[in-house]
Symmetry: D3
């Protein structure tokens, strides 16, 4: 059976750190679904559909990477798409504490949903979506932090 991993996130925006995790995880899983979780109530900096298009353009040559958006609970989306694994990157201890609780809840909501972690490569570990939004909002150059052109 095909091993499908779901890589969920708000990806506001998708960064080179995210790309690093996806490409490395390709050696572990048969298919990776990058899914943008969004919520019509919550304002984004980059629109969901704009980001969906940007991420898709990055992986256009990869038949085993799919890009999607979703608005339900991550565990439900994973279940509906036969993804038995969640894929997440860890950059530091703050990430670890946060991801630890999320992983436990997801396993609890959908028994057997296993979260698999890779540690973000050092050169990308300082890149966060929050910092990119901040730099971008001040007109700074963020092109080194994202794998596509804005």
């Amino acid at each position: 059976m095909k091993k499908i991993a779901l890589f969920p996130g708000s990806f506001d925006p998708f960064t080179k750190g995210h790309e690093d995790i996806v490409l490395r995880a390709l050696n572990i899983f048969d298919e990776i679904v990058i899914a943008i979780g969004y919520n019509s109530q919550k304002k984004r900096y980059f629109e969901t559909d704009f980001m969906l298009e940007k991420i898709s353009s990055c992986f256009a040559n990869y038949g085993n990477i799919k890009v999607d958006k979703y608005t339900e609970l991550t565990a439900i989306y994973a279940h509906n798409h036969n993804a038995k694994y969640l894929l997440r990157g860890l950059r530091n201890t703050t990430d670890f504490e946060y991801e630890n609780t999320i992983a436990m809840v997801n396993k609890d909501l959908y028994n057997g949903l296993e979260t698999v972690f890779l540690i973000t490569s050092p050169k990308f570990a300082f890149i966060s979506s929050t910092i990119i939004r901040e730099v971008h909002s001040y007109g700074g150059d963020v092109s080194r932090y994202i794998p596509y052109q804005l």
Copy 2:
């Protein structure tokens, strides 16, 4: 003199992790006051009075557990209710860093106010009010995480 511990929080909502701390602390203190701190300016997910009623229902059989709400500084409320102890649970290092600063300020504001910590039992350590609100807002089942029925 009766040893009264104040267990303050926003409890939005009160979780099984909170219940775990209260029940274990009953062996240490003579009376525990669970007090919901609220602020008319800040929007809650679960209404203060609704939560007050739910928490009260959990501990209806415990004569030494009181449930209340308050809107002043925690240290002031403790002082006014003769509580010489604050009770708090620790789940992980992020909690620790946060609680450390709060405990110092509370001791500073009301000399002698001592914060006593228990470490949340492992099986409840991943449960947070934030995650419950998130899951609940998507229609997920949160009944395993709370000690009452919604």
Copy 3:
């Protein structure tokens, strides 16, 4: 060449912990620029100009401490003011993880911009602007936490 360090922050409000860092750093650098970063979109608790005046009053006798406000990226401001160093205090591991990422981005945006860290003195380590705002908003006494009168 004069060694100028920029001490950037929102300083909402400036605390005795901030003062501690500035005074200790005076032994390392020739000049320190305390710069209040603000953003017309983001609401502050204490007004930028009010805080600018308060901080200035603290260091009126120090010819080598300047106080300013800015609204651009920190790295750009540093570059425009010939500050080759950013000065930051570390209170705990949560600070460390946050400052680590900020320091890397700043070095990346302005090559050579070096962030220099001092660890906040223990007696001030629990003081945060967030807690001061909280205590102040409830009418609590915050005079012990700030080096000026409100």
Copy 4:
């Protein structure tokens, strides 16, 4: 029933940080037993009996503080002395991670054994037995870090 807390440690040496925890805990418990865990196989820097005498001298005026030494498992010692609580101080996140695992094992070995934590006062938080041994071995003055004379 008397509430007895066991404060276990190797106390090699007992520090002002330890004293801080014991004195603050006196307001919570009826009796505190400071117990030096030792192991004839493991070499100490300060002899067990020497330290026992020094600690005893500190608390000679406290009828509700006892000092002892033990060589069995902490949980067994607690059980044999009717101590239903372990008392421990937390200085930082490294302490937290370590104490978390120890507390869980102790509760597991002796059902109901509850570890109660206080956060070490900031002015003592940097004092560790390890550092005192280091400073003392180089002939440095450690008198400010210990509540007795060597």
Copy 5:
């Protein structure tokens, strides 16, 4: 090509926490090699061959779990056994910081060697080989912490 993950460790002793990681990882990889790293210079508490036998007995019914011992660098062993993945469990932030550096060195020594992390299940997170050795050395019962009989 078969996906082989190496689960390296000193396993002195192998715990239920280790077993948890291995069994969950079976859903990700085709084969898992549990390899006891040993060093003739370093004294163990449980002999390497004794532990090898105990671990083997746990997984006797799993054709895709192998147990071995090795004395070379982990990256070399992985390379020689066609394992492109290292498998490690994370219990807390102390583990995270340690494993982070080890993972980077292993990737550096053997390009492409990817370390995959699972977070240890909460109920096993407090179990460490160190604590088991400690409890066992005092004659305490450790049978709940290990998946075999001593």
Copy 6:
């Protein structure tokens, strides 16, 4: 007055991470003294004098970098060499917690001794002396981690 910073450590061995800190600190201080702390009782992996020579060779062209060895308390050595600053690198939160306590003791032992921290560059953050010794002892290639030839 010349600003002299002491960079103390056991440097067993000195790494590219250490070199990174020294070279970056050259922009802050007028002179840096790299001092190998040793203890005739404690066995080293690389001999003190051998390492002293290797470090010296790295900085032969820098008139403002001195290399030395010492066996007294770091604070005493700093005092005797007119170094008013200690220089230390931070790689992660484990380093932070450790360095925090050391810095406080050093300031306490020699009033005014200020520890200045830089965060190790990400590409060197995983390099530790411990790991280098481990890899080297197994015959692995460590040349990428040290700024000299063994």
